[in-house]
Symmetry: C3
């Protein structure tokens, strides 16, 4: 973390956004999957890995995370924001024969210890649209604590 004192005020900078770009419809798969949001928009503090999809808290603090997704109607969707194996908030959509597509997302404020891991899981047998920057994952440190 290359953070400096700024006047009298030390604030570590931790903030990222990335999108899921795997060429179009992604899934369904026969197991749960950690979504690897591979295209970086911002990654200040390098706490998010676009090789694994996992954010690792570099300092204890209060963080905000949010994800948004697009999904075609052929299969259902089920995306879950997770912290160290625990499901925090979820968003899903049914499959439909008539509605071409749907959108969803969710968000959470989390108090993390240094080293806590946060990521987005896609439930098995569900899918998402992984193209055109429509499906994204973002997070930032609100305040160290």
């Amino acid at each position: 973390m290359a953070n400096q004192q700024r006047g009298f005020c030390y604030t570590p900078h931790v903030a990222f956004s990335a999108t899921l770009e795997h060429g179009g419809a992604y899934g369904p798969f026969n197991t749960d999957k950690t979504l690897v949001f591979n295209k970086l928009i911002t990654n200040i503090g390098d706490a998010y890995s676009n090789a694994t999809g996992i954010f690792v808290a570099p300092v204890a603090g209060i963080y905000y995370f949010t994800f948004f997704y697009h999904a075609g109607g052929k299969s259902k969707s089920r995306l879950i924001l997770c912290k160290d194996g625990e499901s925090i908030v979820m968003s899903s959509d049914h499959s439909t024969s008539t509605d071409g597509a749907d959108n969803g997302g969710n968000a959470a404020v989390l108090q993390l210890k240094e080293g806590d891991q946060v990521y987005v899981h896609m439930a098995k047998d569900t899918h998402v649209w992984a193209a055109e920057t429509q499906t994204s994952f973002s997070g930032f440190l609100i305040s160290p604590m």
Copy 2:
């Protein structure tokens, strides 16, 4: 508020997230209702009450609020982020016979005085999905002011 000076920098910590867990479809009701997001994820500063659904600003400042929801297609949905009785931002969905479900949400930056109240209203004759952490309400202090 158990806030301390942190080095030279005083930052009060106010941040919460909670989900709506009332066993599945919730509503429609014949009056407007304040949604009681009863399952706490985070509640630093204890400014949000999971008994009433109401956030009360502990200090004057700039805050960010967001909500996300899931709703089945049988009834319409209409959720409104409110501040002291005033509607700020809204999200709705029609009822449909064919699309099993829809998602929505909204967000706002608000400048609050100490004691201002922020909450999510569900309009009468509408409904929401209150299970599986799909419907959530979050907020945090960006900066005291």
Copy 3:
């Protein structure tokens, strides 16, 4: 920017929210359009213009932006968060004959230089619902940098 030192801690205040209010369905048009979110909710620091729809970064730093929208099913929707002519994140919906309406949104953390411009584009031949505070654009400075 009328910011002051606050104790020992200088934090410039930059935060806005606005909604799109143009009387109902808005579009489709035969060219791309910058959406003018004309009804201000909050505009601390006056960095967002509700005459042009454009946010201009008053200081270099890490910012968070998000938009949410509602759209009827008659036409498709395609909204894009842009920075200085570059597409950052997008959200879209198909047209459908059966589903009355859909919702969407997206978000991004951006590292901006002073003067960088951020706004929401609506792609040509698409539409959005511009009424009832359902379609909104918000942003704030997380940290100067």
